[in-house]
Symmetry: C2
Subunit: 294 residues, 2 copies
C-alpha cells in the first residue's frame, strides 16, 4: 500500500507517499502559485497521484469544510468559498481510488496521534497557533471530524464577548484567534510575536503584562476544551508557539487554574514531533485507516 | 439479556431492568438514606442485581470519577472522596457479571443518544443544568469518557477569570456552574430560578438584565464546546432549564454569536425526551454495548 498524503496550504502544495508503517517513500513540494483555480489544483493533485503511484489519496486542506465529500465552505488561504473540491478531484482520479479530504489541522493532529508526540494515545487534543489557530481532537482512538467536518475550531472559541471584544476575520467577535493568531498579534502590536516574547522574557513590564493577559486567554480556551474532552495528551505546535517559549510557559502555568484539577491529573503537555510531516502522515493514514472511514 | 441500569444520586437510588431494545422490564426506587456508607450502598446494589435478575449492571453515579474501574474521586452529593466504589461493588457481584460505572450525566447523554432525543446521531452534546451542571459527549457514535472518566465537565469550564470571578465548590473560580448552577443562583439572588425566569419574561428590567448576562455565559460555554465538537444535536435538560424557558430562549438566541456559523448549520437544539429514565437506559446500554467497552 502506497498512500499519498497531501498538505494544501496557502503557499505550498506538499505531498509524500507513505507505506503502512508511516515510512516516507517519496516526497514532493511546489508552490501553489496563481491563479488559485480549484480545477487547476485538482488536476495537479491528480497528476501527482499518478506520478507517485498512489493507491490512496488523503488531503489536508487549509480550509473550513462543509461535509465529508470535501466541499470547502471557505478558505482564506486559497481564497475559495463554496468550492466542491472533493468532487472536482474525484472526477480526475480512478473511480476506485480511496480519497479523503480533511481539515489540515485535523490531519496534523491525527499524524501526531498515529506516529508522533501522541503515539498510542486514545484521547488527544492538538492545538496549533500560527497565523491562525486550529485544533484537532481524537477521542476513543478516532479522529473527531464532527457532523460537518468542522470539529476542532478552537481558534473560534470565544474568550471575550460584549462590545469591546475584538473582531475576527470569521465575522464574529472575541474569538481566540483574534487575540493570539500571529497575523492579529503582529498587526496589533507592530512587532513580531517572537520579539514580544523576548521582551516579556527579559522582564519588560508592558510586554510581560500583555503576554500574561494573552497567555491567560489561551489557557482558558485550552482548559475549557480539556474540561470537556479529558485528553491524556495536549500537543502544542505552530509557528507562534514555536517562537514564543515565554508565552507557552505562562499559558502552561495558567492551565493549572483554568482546567479542572481532575482533568490535569492524567494530562501530559507535549510539543509536536513530526513538524511539517505531521499533516502528510495524518492525511495518508486517515484515508487508509480501518479505524476511521469518513 | 436483562441489563440493569442504576442511577445513584444524592437523594434516590433508582434502578430499572431493560431488554436489548431498551424496553423497561422492571423498575425500583428507594431513598439513598443515611449513613452514606459506600460498603452499605454497594451491598444494596448487589442485592438489587440479584432480585431483578440482572445479566449486567451499569451504574450512573453523581460523582467525578478517577478511572474506568469506578473509583470515585469526589461526590458532593454522596459526600464521598476517593472511594473505590467499583471494587467494593465488584467484590459483591458474580465474577463474570459485566459491570460498568459511569458519570451520571454521561449515562444520561448516552441514553438520549441510544433511545431518546438524539437517537441515531453520531455526534452529540448533552448539557444538564440543575443544582449543578454536567454534560455528556458522543463522537463518532461512541460516548467520550476521556482519559480518566472526567470528560463532559462543562460546568467547570471557565466563563470568567481574574479576581472578581465567582468561587466554585470545586475549589476553582469562574466556573459556569458557579453562575448558573441552581444552588448558586438561588443563594445569590435569594429567589428560585423559576421566579427569576418569570420576572425576566414579564419584562422586569433588573431580572431581564441579569438573565441576559447569565444566558450569555451559558451560550459562550455551549458555543465553545460546539466549536470544538461540531455536534449534530445539542440536547438540553435539567431542572433549571426545564423551569426557565426564558433563560433557554435567551441562551439559544445568544448561541448565534457564540458558536461558529459553520458549526450551527448542521445543529439541532432539542430537549431531552427520556426524563428520569435517560440515565437508567444509558447505563444499562453502556455496559452491554458492543460499540463502547470502557
Amino acid at each position: 500500500m502506497r498512500s499519498l498524503g497531501i498538505d494544501l496550504g496557502g503557499t505550498h502544495l506538499r505531498a509524500a507517499v507513505f507505506d503502512a508503517d508511516h515510512v516516507k517513500l517519496a516526497e514532493h513540494r511546489e508552490l501553489v502559485g496563481e491563479p488559485r483555480d480549484p480545477e487547476r489544483i485538482a488536476a495537479r493533485v491528480a497528476e501527482l497521484a499518478t506520478q507517485l503511484g498512489a493507491d490512496a489519496v488523503g488531503i489536508g486542506i487549509a480550509a473550513m469544510l462543509r461535509d465529508a465529500r470535501g466541499t470547502v465552505a471557505s478558505s482564506p488561504h486559497l481564497r475559495w468559498r463554496d468550492v466542491p473540491f472533493g468532487e472536482l478531484l474525484a472526477a480526475r482520479l480512478p473511480r476506485d481510488l480511496p480519497l479523503g479530504i480533511y481539515n489540515d489541522v485535523n490531519a496534523i493532529a491525527w499524524g501526531e496521534t498515529r506516529a508522533g508526540a501522541a503515539r498510542g494515545c486514545r484521547d488527544v487534543l492538538a492545538v496549533y497557533v500560527g497565523t491562525g489557530i486550529g485544533a484537532g481532537v481524537v477521542t476513543n482512538g478516532e479522529l473527531v471530524a464532527g457532523a460537518s467536518q468542522t470539529a476542532g475550531e478552537l481558534g473560534h472559541t470565544k474568550v471575550r464577548w460584549g462590545d469591546d471584544a475584538e473582531p475576527c476575520a470569521c465575522g464574529q467577535r472575541g474569538c481566540l484567534e483574534a487575540y493570539l493568531g500571529g497575523s492579529y498579534l503582529e498587526r496589533r502590536y507592530g512587532a513580531l510575536a517572537s520579539e514580544l516574547d523576548a521582551a516579556a522574557a527579559a522582564g519588560d513590564p508592558d510586554a510581560l503584562a500583555r503576554w500574561t493577559e494573552l497567555a491567560t486567554l489561551l489557557a482558558v480556551a485550552l482548559g475549557n476544551a480539556i474540561a470537556v474532552l479529558n485528553p491524556e495528551r495536549l500537543v502544542l505546535g505552530g509557528g507562534v508557539l514555536a517562537r514564543c517559549p515565554m508565552l507557552v510557559e505562562l499559558a502552561t502555568a495558567a492551565l493549572e487554574i483554568a482546567a479542572p484539577r481532575a482533568s490535569l491529573e492524567h494530562l501530559a503537555v507535549v510539543t509536536g514531533e513530526l513538524g511539517d510531516d505531521a499533516g502528510l502522515v495524518g492525511a495518508a493514514d486517515l484515508v487508509t485507516s480501518t479505524r476511521r472511514k469518513p
